[in-house]
C-alpha cells in the first residue's frame, strides 16, 4: 500500500510539473498580429527576424490603396517574386507574427517571375500600436514589409511599403457615440433639442435624423444616426453607432440613452457612451447590460439615461 501511495505521489508531481515545460509550434493563428492576410499562413516571430540567406531572392508588395484605417478589411494586395523564390513573407517589423503567401502563378510580364495575390486586413487596435511610425508629413504609417522565400526557406532582403493610417474616429462639432464589446444589438438614442411640441427630437434607429419633419437622413448628414449596428442580431461586426454634427448643432439640453434591443443569445454586453465637442469630452459613461436590460421594448424612449449635457 505504501508503494502504491508513493507511486501516486510521483505521478501527481510529474503531472503537475509537466505543463511547466514550454513547447510551441512555428505556425500561429495570427490573431494577435496588427495585420491579417487572407490566403497566407502566420508564423511566429517578426518579419525582420530571419537572417537574409538569399540575397538574390526579391519580392514586391503593391497595395491597391496605400491608405488604411483601423479595422479596414480585405484590402487587395499583390506582388511579384523572382525566380529564386516561390513564396513571399509579409509582415510588420516588430510584430508578433509574419505571414507567408505562396506565389504560384507565373508572371506574364517577366521571365521566371511569379505572382501572388492576397487580402490584407488591419487590426481595429492599430491606432494604439507601437509599430506605427511617423513620416515626414507628420502622418502615422504602418511599415508593411515583404521578403521573398526560396525553396530552402531562406529569406531575401526586405522591401518596405508604408501604409498611411487614416483615423476613422468619430469627430465633429458634436459627436455622440456608443460602442460595445460583444455581438449584440444595442441602440443609441439621442434626445436633441428642437422647436417642436415635445421640445426635442429623439434620434434613433426608427428616426435617424435630428430634423423633426424628416425622419430619414435626408441630404444633410448632420445629427443623423450613421447606421443601426447588429440590427435584429444580424451581426455586422461594427458594434458602434454615432450621431455626428459637422455644422452647427442645436443649442440646448441633450440626453444620451442606451438601450439593449437584444443580447442575441449572449449573457452580457459592456458598453461605453461618450459625447465630444470638437474632440473634447462633454460627458461619458460605461455600463454592462445583462438580461434584465432587455425587459424594455425597443421603442422610442427605451433604454437607460447614460448622461445628459448642454450644448454649447
Amino acid at each position: 500500500m505504501r508503494t502504491w501511495f508513493r507511486g501516486s505521489v510521483v505521478v501527481a508531481l510529474v503531472a503537475t510539473l509537466a505543463p511547466a515545460c514550454e513547447w510551441s509550434s512555428a505556425t500561429s493563428s495570427g490573431v494577435t498580429s496588427v495585420i491579417r492576410i487572407e490566403g497566407g499562413q502566420a508564423y511566429q516571430g517578426s518579419i525582420s527576424d530571419p537572417p537574409t540567406g538569399n540575397k538574390n531572392a526579391h519580392a514586391s508588395v503593391v497595395p491597391q490603396n496605400a491608405a488604411i484605417f483601423p479595422g479596414s478589411s480585405n484590402k487587395a494586395i499583390s506582388g511579384v517574386v523572382d525566380s529564386n523564390a516561390n513564396a513571399v513573407a509579409i509582415g510588420v517589423a516588430g510584430d508578433t507574427v509574419y505571414w507567408r503567401v505562396p506565389a504560384l502563378s507565373r508572371d506574364l510580364s517577366g521571365i521566371d517571375s511569379f505572382d501572388y495575390t492576397a487580402k490584407l486586413s488591419i487590426s481595429r487596435d492599430v491606432a494604439t500600436s507601437p509599430l506605427l511610425q511617423l513620416n515626414d508629413q507628420g502622418q502615422w504609417t504602418l511599415p508593411l514589409s515583404a521578403r521573398a522565400v526560396d525553396n530552402a526557406g531562406n529569406f531575401g532582403p526586405e522591401e518596405i511599403r508604408p501604409l498611411v493610417l487614416n483615423s476613422n474616429a468619430t469627430t465633429g462639432t458634436l459627436a455622440v457615440s456608443l460602442q460595445w464589446d460583444t455581438p449584440t444589438d444595442l441602440d443609441l438614442h439621442v434626445l436633441v433639442p428642437a422647436n417642436n411640441a415635445a421640445g426635442y427630437v429623439e434620434v434613433w434607429t426608427k428616426h435617424r435624423s435630428a430634423d423633426p419633419g424628416n425622419p430619414t437622413a435626408g441630404t444633410s448628414p448632420d445629427g443623423t444616426l450613421d447606421f443601426d449596428s447588429n440590427a435584429n442580431c444580424q451581426i455586422d461586426g461594427q458594434d458602434l453607432e454615432n450621431v455626428i454634427w459637422t455644422g452647427s448643432p442645436p443649442v440646448g439640453h441633450y440626453v444620451v440613452r442606451v438601450a439593449a434591443a437584444s443580447l442575441c443569445g449572449l449573457t452580457s454586453a459592456a458598453w461605453y457612451a461618450e459625447a465630444s465637442v470638437s474632440d473634447v469630452s462633454k460627458g461619458a459613461t460605461s455600463g454592462v447590460f445583462t438580461e434584465a436590460a432587455t425587459r424594455s421594448s425597443a421603442e422610442a424612449g427605451s433604454g437607460i439615461t447614460a448622461f445628459e449635457f448642454d450644448y454649447p
Partner: protein
C-alpha cells in the same frame, strides 16, 4: 361465605330461642304467679314451675334442632346449586376454548398458506428480477437529495423580454436533484455526483467528480493530514462556496458568492487537509466555474487560477468556532471578435415600405480582434461561531467578506480589456444568524454585493459615482427531519436593474417568496 351464613343463622337461632323463651316464660311465670295468688285465695293445686320450664326448654331445644336441620338443608341446596353453576360454567368455557382453538388452527393454516404463496411469489420475482445494486468494494456509499421549489418573484410578468426570454418566474422548479456515490478507503477517496434541475429548462450535468489520494488523520473524525485531489470539485474559497447545499439553511448562496464563484465548482487539482485545529486547502483550477457566463467547464487560456484557504476549526464543549482567510490569483479571458464580411443595410426609416437611396448603407467588413487575458484577484475572510445552550437550542452566527478585482463571472461580468478599459473592483459581504430549536430553524441573513465600486459617469469632465450594488435581506424558517426539510424563505431584494421615469437606473422590484421541499438519503 358459607361459614358466615352458618354463623349468622346460629346467631339468628339463638336470638330466636331467647325470644321464644322470653315469650313463653314470662306469660307462664305471670300465669303461675296469678295461679299462686288464686291458690292462696282458692286453694287449687299448683303445677310444678320447674317442670314447666323443663318442658319449655325441651320445646325450645326441639325447635332449635329443627331450625338447624332446616339450615343444613338450605346450605346443602345452595352448595348443590353452586356446584351445578360451576360445572355449567366449566363446560361453557371448555366449549369456548375448543372453538377458539379450532379458529386459531384455521388461521394458522390460512397464514401458512399465505406465507407459502408469498414465498413462492418472492422466489418467482427474484428469479425474474434484474441484478441488484452492489458495490465492487467496501467503503462505497450512495447518497442523494431533491430540492423541489415553488417561487413567487415580484418582477415576474406574463411577457417575454426583447430577447424572447420569459419574464415570468412564478413557477415550480427542481432546483437540485443530486445523486452521488463516494468511495472512502484508507489511502484513497473518490466521489461522483450528478445534478438534474429545471432552472433554465431540463438539464443534467456533472457537479462533483473527485479522485483523491490521502494520508489519513489519526482519528475517525479527523480530516486527512494531506490529501491530493484532481477532478471537478467545489472551489475552496471562503465558507459558503465549498459548503454542501444540503447543510445550508438559506435557499441560495449570497449574491457575492454567486457572482464571483458561479456554480461553485470548477476543474482542477487540490491539496487539502488538517492538523489539530488547522485546516488548509490550496488549489490550481481552470478558472471557469460551472456557472460562468462563458466557457463554463472549459479554459480559454493556458494560465490557471491559484487559490486557497487557511483557517482554524475548533469544537469545545458547547461552542464550535471556525474562521479562515482565502486568496485567489487568476487570469481572466477577454474574448476577441470574429471578422465580419461587408454587408448592405437597408432601414426603412420613413416606414413607407419603399426603398429609398438614403435608406441604404454599406457596411465594410471588419477584421476580428484578438483575445487577450487579464489578471484577477480576490481576498476573503470568514468566521462562524455556534453555541449550544441545551440539547435543543443552538445559535449560529456567521459572516463572510469578499474583496475582488475583475472576478465577477455572472452578475455583471468584469472585463477590464473590454469597452470600459478599466478594472472592476468588487465588494461583498454577508452576516447571518441561525437559531435552532429542536427540529425547527429560523435564520436571518443580510448580504451586499457591489460589482463595480468605481461605477461612474462623466458629466462635463466631472466624474460622478453611481451605485451598482445589490443587497438582499432573507428570512427563512424551516422544519427539519433526518430525511428532509421544509423551508419557507422571504427575500427583500434591492438592485439597480430598473429604470425610472427619467431613464435613470433604479430598483427593479424583485422581492421573492420561496418554498422548498427537500428529501435526502
Amino acid at each position: 361465605m358459607l361459614v358466615a351464613i352458618r354463623m349468622s343463622k346460629q346467631a339468628i337461632g339463638l336470638a330466636t330461642g331467647i325470644g321464644l323463651l322470653a315469650a313463653f316464660a314470662v306469660p307462664a311465670f305471670a300465669q303461675s304467679a296469678a295461679s299462686g295468688r288464686k291458690g292462696k285465695e282458692g286453694k287449687e293445686p299448683q303445677p310444678d314451675p320447674m317442670a314447666e320450664i323443663e318442658k319449655l326448654k325441651a320445646d325450645f331445644d326441639q325447635r332449635l334442632a329443627d331450625q338447624e336441620a332446616a339450615s343444613k338443608q338450605r346450605e346443602e341446596a345452595i352448595r348443590k346449586e353452586a356446584a351445578a353453576a360451576v360445572e355449567s360454567a366449566r363446560e361453557e368455557a371448555d366449549s369456548r376454548i375448543a372453538a377458539d382453538r379450532n379458529e386459531r388452527q384455521a388461521d394458522t393454516l390460512r397464514l401458512n398458506k399465505a406465507l407459502e404463496d408469498a414465498a413462492q411469489r418472492e422466489d418467482a420475482r427474484e428469479r425474474n428480477a434484474p441484478p441488484s445494486v452492489g458495490a465492487g468494494m467496501p467503503g462505497v456509499s450512495l447518497y442523494g437529495y431533491v430540492q423541489a421549489d415553488y417561487q413567487i418573484r415580484q418582477a415576474s410578468e406574463d411577457q417575454l423580454d426583447s430577447s424572447g426570454q420569459a419574464l415570468n418566474q412564478d413557477r415550480f422548479l427542481i432546483r437540485r436533484a443530486r445523486l452521488g456515490a463516494t468511495m472512502d478507503r484508507h489511502y484513497g477517496e473518490g466521489r461522483i455526483e450528478f445534478d438534474g434541475n429545471t432552472v433554465n429548462g431540463p438539464a443534467f450535468r456533472l457537479t462533483d467528480v473527485e479522485a483523491s489520494v490521502k494520508l489519513p488523520g489519526s482519528g475517525d473524525n479527523t480530516p486527512p493530514v494531506v490529501m491530493g485531489t484532481m477532478g471537478l470539485f467545489r472551489i475552496p474559497f471562503g465558507r459558503e462556496v465549498p459548503q454542501d447545499d444540503r447543510y445550508r439553511l438559506f435557499m441560495e448562496r449570497s449574491t457575492a458568492a454567486r457572482a464571483l464563484f458561479p456554480g461553485e465548482a470548477d476543474l482542477g487539482a487540490r491539496l487539502s487537509g488538517g492538523w489539530h485545529f488547522i485546516r488548509y486547502a490550496l488549489a490550481v483550477m481552470n478558472g471557469q466555474p460551472l456557472g460562468s457566463n462563458a466557457f463554463a467547464g472549459l479554459d480559454p487560456n493556458h494560465q490557471k487560477d491559484i487559490l486557497g484557504r487557511v483557517g482554524v476549526e475548533q469544537s469545545l464543549d458547547k461552542v464550535d468556532f471556525a474562521a479562515g482567510i482565502s486568496g485567489l490569483r487568476g487570469t481572466g479571458f477577454h474574448a476577441g471578435l470574429l471578422a465580419s464580411k461587408p454587408t448592405v443595410q437597408w432601414n426603412d426609416s420613413n416606414e413607407n415600405n419603399q426603398l429609398s437611396p438614403d435608406e441604404i448603407k454599406g457596411l465594410p467588413g471588419v477584421p476580428g480582434a484578438p483575445s487577450t487575458s487579464f489578471t484577477r484577484l480576490a481576498f476573503g475572510a470568514d468566521a462562524s461561531l455556534s453555541a449550544r445552550f441545551t440539547s435543543l437550542i443552538r445559535t449560529t452566527l456567521a459572516a463572510e467578506f469578499y474583496l475582488a478585482s475583475d472576478l465577477d463571472r455572472a452578475v455583471m461580468p468584469a472585463d477590464p480589456k473590454g469597452i470600459a478599459r478599466r478594472d472592476f473592483r468588487e465588494l461583498g459581504y454577508y452576516v447571518a444568524l441561525v437559531q435552532e430549536y429542536g427540529r425547527w430553524r429560523l435564520g436571518v441573513r443580510y448580504d451586499y454585493y457591489n460589482p463595480d465600486q468605481d461605477s461612474n459617469k462623466l458629466l462635463d469632465i466631472n466624474p460622478v459615482l453611481t451605485d451598482a450594488s445589490y443587497s438582499t435581506l432573507a428570512v427563512v424558517a424551516a422544519c427539519t427531519a433526518k430525511w428532509g426539510r421544509l423551508l419557507v424563505e422571504y427575500q427583500r431584494n434591492r438592485n439597480h436593474l430598473g429604470i425610472d421615469v427619467k431613464g435613470l437606473p433604479t430598483n427593479l422590484d424583485d422581492n421573492a417568496v420561496l418554498v422548498r421541499g427537500e428529501v435526502s438519503f
